[in-house]
Amino acid sequence: MKSALKVTDLQVAIEGSHILQGVTFEVPVGGVTALLGRNGVGKTTTLRAILGLVPRSGAVQVLDHDVIEWPTFKIVRLGVGYVPEDRDVFSALSVEENLRLAESGPDARYNDIYQLFPELKERARQRAGTLSGGQQQMISIARAMLNGWPLLLVDEPSKGLAPRLVSEFADVLERVAQHATVLLVEQNLSVVKRLAKDIVVLDHGTVVHTGSARDLGDAQLVRQLLGVAGVA
């Protein structure tokens, strides 16, 4: 298996808006591949389309399986963890119940999770909706990591977090990427430069650049692709 994920001519139209207009890219096995682009170019929709959470057409190959016709739960059971953009923890459920839902079998790695996020053990009985944004992000990442799955789709884990927490979550993702393939949507370029091996850049619903994360050192290219100044 050369690619953990292969997306070909992915198209998504929602309520008359053609959001993805033939997205094609591959995510090699191992390490972090960053999916970049300005706001609203379709990064989140791409992740949701890979998982079948929005109606889509084209071809999606996840861990060597053609999944375009599959329902979401079946794609996830191939071994895909998902960290959504807005965390999407179940606010009425306790921390423990949020994690329990993500269990796919008896081998759930609670020890690893509680080692990384001791707060989740301390607050096991607390309602997730009463936690801070950072703590909710811990749940969201923990759910995706719990089963030790080989592919993680992670959508803007640093969004709305304090700089100290951003750095802590980057540490966690770095450790995860030692054992799994991560497709990371992230606006924070310093995080991307630290974690990513490869990059895929979207614009207007199509891929406009693929290459090495080292390309982000080229300030002119970064400005052209992302509309922001590069980060040293």
Binding site: L53, V76, R77, A92, R100
Partner: protein
């Protein structure tokens, strides 16, 4: 004092039946976004299943045994009807909520029409044991035994449902699905199974509500249109309690039962005010929606 106790007790019994009728409806809407207009049909079919068992099984079983089997048949009849409805009519229409609503309306009209064709508009009588018709003296009030039964079954279902929703994996899946169905799927869970389960649980409670309503408030009579009349109050309870909230449904059912019974007591005896109890419930709904659009314990408006 005895009037106060009797009316309060009757209000709780009515609330227990409304809770049984409404809680399944609330869960189905909360999880699946379906306003299930066939829910009244499940109540009617449950009541008919109870009647069929009671009149067709040998009387040597004895009246208490026959009635107990009627209750079981009503629960199973409602559950079976709901399960078949979900698998045959709702499942092929996932993602098309308007079509799902229309199919539940059509199904209700068609099956109630068949029942009217078979039974006419005449009611059938469920045989009940003598002690259910009698009353128990509490202080100076005579409280109908059948009200005790309704309250006991309502409480048993409430506690069982709470236990199921809080302690079992499928219960947690249903609570999570009410909040965010997509995210439940994105954790690798087949939400479709939860949909069927919720329909079956809702149908079982509706069947029980249908039988109890016939026994407690209709003089043991079952008619084809009974479920649809009860459905209106179930919808009102669901909206007042908050969509998807079981505790909200329980609280709202109790309030609606009290309001209806007390209004009937104080105003219903006056000429031209026979339906004032029903009117008071609709007014209550309007007031709650004005004050709190998401209902007493709901998370969404």
């Amino acid at each position: 004092m005895s009037v106060f106790l009797s009316i309060t007790f009757s209000g709780v019994a009515l609330g227990a039946i409304y809770f049984l009728a409404a809680s399944g409806l609330s869960l189905i809407y909360g999880l699946m976004d379906i306003l299930n207009f066939a829910h009244g049909l499940f109540m009617t079919l449950g009541a008919y299943a109870g009647w069929a068992v009671a009149v067709h099984l040998p009387s040597s079983i004895g009246a208490p045994g026959l009635f107990a089997l009627s209750v079981v048949a009503a629960v199973l009849g409602g559950a079976l009807a709901a399960g078949i409805t979900e698998v045959l009519f709702i499942r092929p229409l996932y993602g098309r909520p308007v079509s799902q609503i229309l199919v539940t309306i059509g199904l209700d009209l068609a099956v109630v029409g068949l029942l009217l064709g078979g039974f006419g508009s005449n009611s059938v009588r469920i045989p009940v044991p003598l002690w259910l018709i009698e009353a128990t003296k509490v202080g100076s009030a005579n409280l109908p035994n059948v009200d005790f039964l309704a309250i006991a079954l309502g409480l048993a279902v409430l506690f069982s449902l709470e236990w199921f929703l809080r302690r079992t994996r499928y219960g947690i899946i249903i609570r999570a699905g009410v909040e965010n169905r997509d995210m439940v799927s994105a954790l690798g869970i087949d939400v479709g199974k939860a949909f069927t389960l919720v329909f079956v649980i809702g149908g079982a409670m509706a069947g029980l509500a249908g039988l109890l309503y016939a026994v407690v408030f209709s003089g043991d009579l079952v008619s084809p249109l009974q479920g649809d009349s009860l459905l209106i109050f179930a919808f009102i309870v669901v909206v007042i309690g908050g969509l998807g909230s079981i505790r909200g449904s329980a609280l709202a059912a109790l309030i609606v039962g009290f309001v209806q019974d007390y209004t009937n007591l104080y105003l219903g005896g006056h000429s031209g005010f026979a339906e004032v109890g029903n009117l008071s419930v609709v007014l209550l709904l309007a007031l709650v929606l004005e004050w709190r659009p998401r209902g007493l314990m709901g998370s969404v408006a």
